[in-house]
């Protein structure tokens, strides 16, 4: 096991209260909107996919000590360093010292509205018939994957019920590793609180759902 994610926080103890903030408050430092825009603009070059960028963010060793846009910026630098698009001396000085590596495309200002409005839909043609149906009981895999995965730890091995079938979508685990899209059926699976949290807590009259690809699931008679 070499892959370590620091992002899988669901159900983890030890974090304090949530601090609400006013609706208009988007940024907390002057560099933050620039870091956001740099990330979106480089993402739009097509040099990597969103799953690869999430994998880079969640594996930053100091993830838990960084602010949100520090995580974005750190991952952006690493993705470009990996691809030879920038070099450490350039990041340090702000001066170009090595030839540019080609990128598939460049996002120009006049194309921003259409690119954002188009987005990147992940639904794909189904690879075959769906294996599970609404109302069916399923058990989630024990998900200790040695790569980026979207199966959170708090549902590993838990029994849930299929509530919705979303069609086939790009499989994040494969896409993050550069193995292609490998689309799979995607399901909403709902869990009762006793299954997730046992009797350790006062009951909250709660159910929780996740969206899970077919290979995360097995039938649970």
């Amino acid at each position: 096991m070499s892959y370590v994610t620091h992002a899988d926080l669901g159900g983890q103890p030890g974090y304090g209260p949530v601090t609400p903030e006013p609706e208009g408050e988007l940024f907390h430092a002057g560099w933050e909107p620039r870091a956001l825009a740099l990330t979106l603009a480089m993402g739009a070059t097509g040099s990597w996919n969103i799953d690869a960028s999430r994998a880079m963010r969640e594996t930053l060793p100091n993830y838990r000590n960084l602010s949100y846009y520090q995580i974005w910026l750190g991952a952006l630098e690493q993705l470009m360093l990996q691809r030879g698009q920038v070099f450490a001396d350039e990041v340090a000085t702000g001066e170009m010292r090595h030839a540019a590596a080609p990128v598939p495309r460049v996002l120009h200002a006049q194309n921003v509205p259409v690119v954002l409005a188009k987005g990147s839909p992940t639904e794909r043609a189904a690879p075959g018939p769906a294996r599970f149906a609404v109302g069916q009981a399923v058990r989630m895999h024990i998900g200790k994957a040695d790569y980026h995965t979207r199966l959170p730890g708090y549902v590993w091995g838990k029994r849930g019920t299929i509530e919705h079938v979303h069609g086939a979508h790009v499989f994040a685990d494969a896409n993050a590793q550069g193995l292609g899209e490998q689309p799979q059926w995607l399901y909403t699976v709902v869990f009762e609180e006793a299954e997730l949290w046992g009797d350790a807590l006062p009951r909250q009259n709660l159910s929780v759902s996740v969206d899970a690809w077919e290979s995360y699931l097995q039938a649970a008679p």
Binding site: G10, G11, G14, Y15, G16, P17, V18, T19, P20, E23, E25, L26, H28, A29, W31, P33, A35, L36, A37, L38, A41, E58, R64, S67, Q70, L73, G74, E77, V91, A92, E95, M96, A100, H108, A109, N111, V112, L116, A117, K118, G119, S120, P121, T122, E123, P152, Y154, H164, H166, H169, L186, L196, Q204, N205, L206, S207, V208, S209, V210, D211
Partner: protein
């Protein structure tokens, strides 16, 4: 790289650029010199999320659903198409699902793995949505999280938390406040807050003066 953003310490000293400002400027400069980015595109991206795309979009979706039963039914059956009909499409909203609060069931949305959020209708996520306290506690202690927002639900109201672990994005339709009979769609939209569409608050109650009008 140092710990959390320290710019708050210097927030009134604009003469001195902080470490993060310098780092971002350096990166932008290199990427521009290499031809990977168009600096004007950065300005356009920032302008888009500061002035064009934000929770007022979602508020219009909710207000329409409150006054127009046909739109409401379309939204619940195919949120992606219904929301697109109002012009709100695209990045981080490619596959939308709307869920509706009632007396019996209250919906709340989280992304425990990162910060997945419906950008075309709510804009950029607030810091708290991306924070460890919210992501860790929303799926286990949602009533505690709601209390942090001053929201108290009856014990008989079932709570349903949606963890956005794939590319499906969720929009909560809060309950229409009492005392808004006869209100126009535009007036109703003013009662719909960002937090109410994530599910951490109710829609705002009408001020006494307005409900009397």
């Amino acid at each position: 790289m140092t710990g959390p953003d320290h710019s708050h310490d210097h927030s009134h000293d604009h003469s001195e650029l902080g470490e993060m400002d310098l780092r971002v400027r350096a990166l932008e400069s290199v990427l521009t010199q290499k031809g990977y980015i168009d600096p004007a595109a950065l300005d356009a991206l920032i302008d888009t999320y500061q002035t064009r795309i934000g929770p007022r979009n979602g508020a219009r979706v909710v207000a329409r659903a409150w006054v127009d039963q046909t739109f409401h039914d379309w939204l619940m059956a195919d949120a992606t198409a219904a929301i697109a009909s109002l012009g709100y499409t695209g990045r981080q909203g490619e596959h939308m699902v709307a869920v509706q609060n009632t007396d019996e069931q209250h919906h709340m949305v989280v992304c425990t793995l990162c910060s997945c959020y419906p950008w075309p209708v709510l804009g950029l996520p607030p810091t708290w949505y991306k924070s460890a306290p919210y992501r860790s506690r929303a799926v286990k202690d949602p009533r505690g999280v709601l209390a942090d927002f001053g929201t108290v639900l009856p014990e008989t109201t079932r709570i349903r938390v949606w963890d956005s672990t794939a590319e499906v994005r969720y929009l909560v339709i809060p309950q229409r406040p009492a005392g808004t009979e006869g209100w126009s769609e535009d007036e109703l939209a003013t009662l719909v807050s960002r937090d109410s569409m994530i599910g951490t608050r109710h829609a705002d109650a009408p001020a006494a003066a307005r409900s009397a009008a």
